[in-house]
């Protein structure tokens, strides 16, 4: 009787606490990997190889991790529009679901940096001023003080950060795409990375104080405006006054 009750209780408890979702999740994950593989074979394998082993034109994707896939595909850099000095940012051709499936497939080939998840609490707690200090010390050399971007050698460039989402900013830090150095968790921990992303978003989104920001490049567009509008306008006024001179 005791045994029976115990068995019944165990059964009920099992029924109550059984990790029912896991089987479904695993199935979903497997499905994502399967779908991702289909997408991969259709869209990526011609350059990166049927086994993602890389080739003459493209690097191996084994071990790059889901963060790299999400960064490259969600920023539209992959698939490449045309070979050039550097992949350009454009509108992504895959939906976020498809990108996640591709990421799952590449992730299944061997680990790597995972796509970061930023919670609202982390975002709210991130220290903007600290992010700014880290940005100026680590990023401004190439991306310019307020993320306007700047050229590197031979047609390569550090891109404008105006359109980069917080997730993409952190993915770039963790995976070091193209010419960009990699900033691992040893250099910038999670809180630091979120703070940098928050600073970049702030300087991109904050309304510009004092009028139009002239493309955020400072002295070069300022000089151009001073000459074209300032001097040009005043010379036009000189001509106007000269033309109205009474005989």
């Amino acid at each position: 009787m005791v045994l029976l009750v115990a068995l019944a209780a165990t059964g009920l408890l099992w029924a109550g606490f059984a990790p029912r979702g896991t089987a479904q999740d695993t199935a979903d994950a497997n499905e994502a990997v399967r779908q991702g593989r289909v997408l991969y074979l259709q869209g990526c394998s011609s350059c990166h190889g049927l086994q993602a082993q890389g080739g003459n034109q493209a690097p191996s994707l084994i071990g790059v991790g889901s963060a790299a896939v999400d960064f490259q595909v969600s920023t539209g850099r992959m698939p490449l529009a045309a070979p050039g000095a550097q992949a350009e940012r454009k509108d992504p051709i895959y939906s976020q679901t498809q990108i996640d499936q591709l990421a799952a497939y590449i992730d299944s080939l061997g680990g790597g940096p995972k796509k970061p998840v930023i919670t609202q609490t982390e975002w709210d707690d991130a220290d903007l001023a600290h992010g700014g200090e880290l940005y100026r010390a680590n990023c401004a050399q190439c991306h310019q003080a307020v993320g306007a971007g700047a050229p590197l050698t031979y047609g390569k460039y550090a891109p404008d950060l105006g359109k980069a989402t917080p997730t993409q900013i952190i993915e770039a830090m963790r995976t070091g795409p193209e010419s960009m150095p990699l900033f691992g968790p040893g250099q910038l921990d999670e809180a630091d990375a979120v703070a940098v992303a928050k600073y970049v978003r702030h300087v991109s989104e904050a309304p510009s104080a004092g009028g139009d920001d002239l493309g955020k490049y400072g002295p070069v567009p300022e000089g151009l405006l001073a000459w074209l509008v300032g001097i040009g306008g005043l010379l036009a006024v000189c001509l106007w006054i000269g033309a109205r001179q009474k005989v």
């Binding site: 903007l128 003080a145 031979y154 001073a226």
Partner: protein, 535 residues
């Protein structure tokens, strides 16, 4: 009913006139005042360019005074606690913190800062345009060489003053600029290190350079600028303005408008327009957003760090110059020495001595009060365009990173284009400009000799086709003639016009002095009967 006849009207002197008389009774200013207010200035539009510089300077002084009330020129480190959130709690100098306060916490601080900065850009830019006008019209020739030298001095001091102002806020951009300036000072052979210590009050980045820079920016250089502007205008006043050749104009007269009232009204209006332009720029276009650059930290640097436009050509020359370092005799001369000190040294020296060089090579020792059109001096115009194209190549190269990024050009390609361009473009520009000037001269002669083509083709009885030419119309005086203060106005072809104009002009000026005319013996000199005083 008897009507009382109205009392005779007696015009009572107005307050201005009363004041004028009161001052004159005490200081005897009337004669000088009349002489100067009667001064005649010519009317060409290009003579107003220098005024832009003058008015920008006035606005710089006015806005600068406002900024000094709130700026704290100190290197002392503080923790920022103002209203700009992304820098809250960051360590910075008081100079930077007070500039942030001016930008975000002080009423109208930002717009004053921006107008001040735009006025600085316009000040130097208008000096350059004015200099080009003077150069291409030959206005620098004898007797005006000294004023040319003063102008070159104003140009150089304007650049220095602008750079000092750009460097004061102690943000990352200005600190980067100062770091480069310190390196340039250090690159001078033998005395470089000491020169750098002298300028920056010790090792870079020391603690005392902002107060030093501040004194230079608000006292020393503006004081010299003011003195030189006074001398520049004083000499102009004394020597009288040049003018383009035209009907009735000779080497010995000035035709235009008197200082009072027309020239004064015109200039006041133009001052307002310059002020309006600067207010528009300061209110609508952000300039030097120091909060974006962050506080200066010697370990940090931002890409696309540029100087203000007037230093841009030196930034460009540094970017283009090959990294040639000279070692010998126990000294190293770094590559930066040549493009940043030797090159501007040569450029500004050539600019300063140009009037003397031209006089020497052309053998022209005469005094000139009439200007030349650029085409009338093809070699000079060619040399001017040579210099401008060289400057432009350096200038564009100074912003080559921003241009490369904006237009998707390889930075390396931009650098090499600049290197080749700086050597190849100026000579080509010289030859083309000279040819163009000569061609234009020939065309002028053609029109003078054969008239203007009408486009009407006639067939002669012999079968030959010829185009009809219309003779060039005699030019009509387009200037109202008023008495000149140099020598007598040459009598015009048609007597009635002269009398009429002189009478009208005389009437325009005598009204203001009517009372004093009766009292002062000098008054007779400005009467319409004797238009040419020997003032």
């Amino acid at each position: 009913m008897t009507t009382v006849p109205p009392p005779p009207l007696v015009k009572r002197p107005g307050p201005v006139r009363t004041l004028n008389r009161a001052i004159d009774e005490r200081f005897g200013t009337q004669a000088g005042l009349r002489r100067n207010l009667n001064k005649v200035f010519p009317d060409h539009w290009s003579f107003m360019i220098g005024e832009i510089a003058l008015y920008s300077f006035v606005i710089l002084v006015l806005t600068g005074i406002y900024l000094t009330l709130f700026f704290d020129p100190s290197n002392t480190e503080v923790i920022y606690d103002g209203s700009y959130v992304p820098l809250k709690g960051v360590e910075m100098s008081r100079a930077y913190a007070s500039t942030l306060d001016i930008s975000f916490d002080i009423r109208a601080g930002l717009v004053f800062r921006q107008i001040h900065h735009w006025a600085a850009l316009l000040f130097v830019a208008s000096i350059v345009v004015h200099l080009m006008r003077v150069f291409f019209t030959g206005a620098f020739r004898k007797p005006r060489e000294v004023n040319w030298l003063i102008g070159v001095g104003l140009f150089i001091l304007g650049i220095l003053e602008g750079f000092a102002g750009y460097s004061l806020p102690d943000d990352l951009l200005s600190g980067t600029g100062l770091r480069i300036a310190a390196s340039i000072a250090q690159s001078i052979p033998v005395v470089g290190t000491w020169a750098s210590f002298l300028v920056f009050n010790g090792e870079w980045p020391g603690e005392g350079f902002i107060p030093r820079l501040y004194v230079v920016h608000i006292l020393l250089v503006p004081g010299i600028l003011l003195a030189l502007i006074g001398a520049h205008l004083g000499i102009l006043w004394h020597q009288k303005h040049t003018d383009f050749p035209g009907p009735g104009k000779t080497e010995h007269n000035v035709i235009g408008h008197r200082v009072f009232p027309i020239f004064a009204a015109k200039s006041t209006g133009f001052f307002m327009i310059v002020f309006a332009m600067l207010a528009l720029l300061g209110g609508l276009a952000q300039i030097n957003p120091i909060w974006g650059f962050g506080p200066y930290d010697p370990a940090n640097v931002s890409s696309a760090s540029q100087p203000d436009w007037y230093i841009g050509f030196l930034d460009g020359s540094t970017r283009l110059f090959p990294p040639w370092e000279f070692r010998g005799f126990g000294h190293t001369v770094p590559a930066v020495f040549w493009p940043t000190l030797i090159l501007p040294g040569i450029l500004f020296t050539l600019l300063a001595v140009y009037p003397f060089l031209e006089a020497k090579f052309t053998g022209d020792k005469e005094s000139h009060n009439l200007l030349q059109r650029p085409r009338e001096a093809p070699t000079r115009t060619g040399l001017g365009v040579f210099a401008i194209s060289f400057y432009l190549v350096l200038w564009i190269s100074g912003g080559n990173d921003v241009i490369a990024k904006t237009f998707d050009i390889s930075l390396n390609a931009m650098t090499w284009a600049g290197r080749v361009g700086a050597i190849v473009i100026p000579p080509i520009a010289f030859v083309l400009t000279r040819k163009l000037c000569i061609h234009l001269q020939e065309r002028d002669h053609e029109i003078a000799e054969h008239g203007i083509e009408t486009g009407i083709i006639q067939q002669l009885p012999s079968g030959e086709f010829v185009e009809e030419h219309r003779p060039k119309l005699p030019s009509v005086p387009d200037h109202r003639r008023v008495p000149t203060d140099r020598v007598a106005l040459p009598s015009a072809e048609n007597g009635h016009a002269r009398g009429d104009l002189v009478r009208r002009a005389g009437k325009a000026v005598t009204g203001f002095f009517v009372e004093e005319e009766e009292r002062l013996p000098e008054a007779s000199e400005s009467s319409p009967d004797r238009p040419a005083g020997k003032h």
